[in-house]
Symmetry: D2
């Protein structure tokens, strides 16, 4: 931690702070500059709130110089985390493609869509059985029945399942049916939930909150890793800004930033990131070009009748075309995307 | 709902939309203007996502014209909701003052602070037993022991208790000890939790999320009211903006806006709203001047040793002075604040 | 400046930075901690961009520890700046009230409004002769004719004039007619304009840009002071956030923050800060309670026919009532507002 | 324009509004729904401020249904604008690459960098002679001498010049030396300047303001087109959000959005968009993948000694590698980038 004293801080003020911190077991390095005295606090400062220093008499400012996260950091683990799920890897050379409808609506719907997306090269089938909805009056998902449907559809087309958990009680039920547990943007700081994810044995897909800083997002991942579950992937899905044309503003620069700060894989979700079908395609290409380790894309064969988010779902042909384009883009930066089956 | 057709939308495109909506049971009013054709959709459109219209061929834009909330709206209930808790009212002429430390740390601490704040005129004692913390390594609260302490301190000084619930499982335990259940900013869209609050018989204090629009905040309140619990008060506690000098930017204009849109009381929390002690006092005065129905203020007799948020806690003398000032300001707009006891 | 080295920065990397900075004439204090080595750079670092350090090998982070502004800072001048204009003071005990229409429309309009607002106690008459408009097709103001009208109206009712300058060429013309030059939010970083204001002899009213940080705003004021003009007052008028209910989000916490960082007076403009008439009144009261040195309020006797911003203009009776309320609130914090004349 | 009446608006309130608007020459279509009456206002409503309707008694909301811009819209001109400068086209199949240092520092510097970037395939040489700087104490550019240097360097390597104009007075001087006039983000609503650009005969490169909505940005372009200059290209360079890791958040979704709303070309500037060298490369690739019509990239052969923005300037080898990558990505979407010369 660095503490900057005010221009006219007195010697007793400075000494008072030094004494306080020494009593707490820290070593202090003092630098006296032209304008300001600077105190470097040496030791494990993770339990001191910089604001508690900021309000002391004579202090101009105070901040931590180390990131508050540890296990998720690139400093802690230099090598990329590669998550292996039944032999399919996330975080390696191959860009993982996760596709499917927003909501699981029926067996027929899931079978139709699973066939389309797996033929085009997607290895993960997405779809929500429990839906977090802004309105209490909106469709809330099929629940357990939906979980069985997505599992059956994925198995038939040799895909892996990713689906969302909304609270701690749902974890064990959903875990029976899914390969990856998705945590939605609204639950990024539901600490009861994310703490519980630390002690289970399933990979976690952790969406960035619409107003999470990258640091807060990594801190939420730290909750999971600190509980013992190291298989966490992050997902950029758009942040809230002043611009209202799109539902959210997709922050693609988060991809290279996360790659620098952390060893965890990062996936991009242009469907939620833009909210509008015709913006999904260019942003999906851009995410791959920016180095994303995966894409999550909503696809629906009949989006006009989708029960949620039809407007941001790609049509089957659009998805097939997109897969061809991103396969070429991935090559340019030395990565691969699975071939189409047909 | 209003649907705006593109300048060059064709008649078949327009007819197609009209037919679709008529099939769903809506009446359509068509206005043909110089530049655009406009379709007014008459009926309960709450289940149509405007984006599903926006992506149809020929459509330039589409939006709902009614607010998505009902029970919380001023249209639904013209008269202010006044919440009566053991004879103390929130939402009437008296501005409710809730004060206490961020965290419950010990019996001695709570007794000391309860005496200070109740003598100054506060009728509600705040303090957290379960603490949502960004870092998994930070102090997480005393739990049940803390609940017993705050109850005892409040009872001794004839105060009411307000304390936070972090998840659905905690509701019944916390309800045994508290008079008001506080929901933190990070849980505003924890739908499992807020849905559960609809069926209990305790007043709810619902903090605005750091990136909640006023509409989303009211929708979360709607979850609670739609479950049958009408005793909800809202709390403005700062939103996330580009400005970094303060922890959050307190949006005081939310006070008159909520009063216009809704019948629910609105409280201001300048402690979290600014994050810095010397900004709490002017912003608390400002909140009362803007018409807030209450204030939540963090107070600590020894903030340098507080276990959390010491930097934003007022010192006892500061709180006493503030109470005198806001009592005078309340009078200017025809409201009252309880007298000091001593 | 503080430079934080990476956990695994090598000795040659550290030495390389030290050598570079020593060659530039700086003294370096090195602190070696458990996790990180810290370099304190002593000297005038205002010409080093911290990002130039951030990209050097082995550097984790780098930032300035002094504010980039000097002349505007409270450190440079402890005492409040009080601006004296023909005997009327801004920045002292009296809260200055500036009122009038958005645009100067006609002599009759200005005479009517000047009489109303001066009778209620306002000492400054506002009104735009040159209007910055988002649309090239909107009303652009009466120009020089407008300047003559506002001067005549102010003189008749013994008021002072404040009006806007949009570019450097207008300065000399507008200066002939006004007592205070207003710089709009969109020109806060029009460096050609603000540099030119440094060498004139008129007080400047500098609106915060809709996305200016407080630091950037103070830096723009620094441009003016560094040119020799010390009579600058700042004006908070709302910032752009994700919330769309109001035109802008008024950041009242900027009032106590500016008072801490700077000796310059700060005025609040709730008319632009909210954009809606019924929000102007509570926010004006709140601004005075928060300690604003003045208010700028749009008032129109016939807002339905105003040529701009009618929706945010108070009606005459509303303004009279507001003046009464804020006079009482000012007293609570030891300040005054001029009495009504009638 | 659509006006939504409140649930309980009275017939006289509705009639009053209809009469007012009819008197102004508009036709009104009235739709009476279950919850709300809706008034469609037919005619040229560009001069009515929707807020003036919002404050009328009985009105719940009011908004325009047509975009406020005309000449820049895709509705006005279906075909892409292709700007032809001495035979080099912007807005066609070829992605234009503009490269060079932030500031023009010396003849030697410009010759060195021009050779590097032209050999790699860039056709436009960028560099600032007049620099808008946040601090009055920072380097302000070489002025006219700088303009001569960049012209000479561009001519020698058969490149075109793009450089910035900061105010109206500089237009004629800069026009003598440049092929494209750049308008910086801080001047996007300097209406005196952008109005003046409408009557000159040089292509304009209009950067988005850090807090401009896409609509405001297009309105600023409308100022230029409405003055008669149709050769405007837009430039996305990052917007201000809550995230502080990068200087700005680059909004790549603006690329497909602008392509939908307008016929004007859109360029991406990842150097300012991210502010950090190692983020420039992935974001440049992403911009091309998203469909940008061009890139503006800062390059410096000795960024440690650059007079401004060294931290975001690519090294020569990085630029050469980037050009190879984006040439491949452009092909995937049917576009081209000029070959390297060597």
């Amino acid at each position: 931690m660095v503490i900057i004293m005010e221009h006219d801080a007195t010697k007793p003020q400075i000494d008072d702070i030094i004494n306080k911190l020494q009593d707490l077991g820290f070593n202090i390095h003092q630098s006296t500059g032209i304008d300001h005295t600077l105190l470097g606090v040496i030791g494990d400062v993770s339990k001191i709130d910089p604001r508690d220093m900021q309000v002391l008499p004579g202090v101009a400012d105070a901040y931590r110089i180390s990131a508050p996260y540890k296990l998720v950091s690139r400093e802690f683990q230099h090598k990329n985390t590669i998550i292996d799920i039944k032999g399919v890897k996330i975080g390696g050379d191959e860009v993982a493609v996760m596709a499917g409808p927003c909501s699981i609506e029926s067996k027929e719907q899931m079978m139709t869509i699973a066939e389309i997306v797996s033929n085009a090269g997607a290895k993960f089938l997405r779809g929500g059985a429990f839906k977090p909805r802004t309105s209490p009056y909106a469709f809330q998902g099929l629940g357990e029945q939906g979980l069985k449907i997505i599992r059956e559809a994925a198995d038939k087309f040799n895909m892996l399942v990713i689906t969302e958990v909304m609270d701690k009680e749902q974890i064990s039920l959903v875990s029976e049916h899914t390969d990856i547990i998705q945590i939605g943007a609204r639950n990024i700081q539901n600490f009861t939930l994310i703490r519980a994810l630390g002690s289970i044995d399933k990979p976690i897909f952790l969406k960035r909150g619409i107003s999470s800083t990258i640091e807060e997002w990594l801190m939420s991942a730290e909750y999971i890793l600190s509980g013992g579950n190291r298989n966490v992937m992050l997902c950029e899905r758009g942040i809230r800004t002043f611009e209202t044309y799109t539902r959210n503003t997709m922050d693609l620069s988060a991809i290279p930033i996360v790659h620098k700060l952390s060893h965890l894989p990062i996936i991009a979700d242009p469907s939620h990131g833009t909210g509008l079908r015709d913006k999904v395609i260019p942003m999906a290409r851009a995410a791959v070009a920016a180095g994303a380790d995966g894409l999550m894309i909503e696809v629906h064969h009949d989006p006009e009748h989708a029960m949620s988010d039809g407007a941001q779902s790609l049509l089957p042909d659009q998805f097939v075309d997109l897969m061809k384009q991103i396969r070429e883009i991935a090559k340019v930066i030395g990565r691969t995307i699975a071939d189409a089956r047909v």
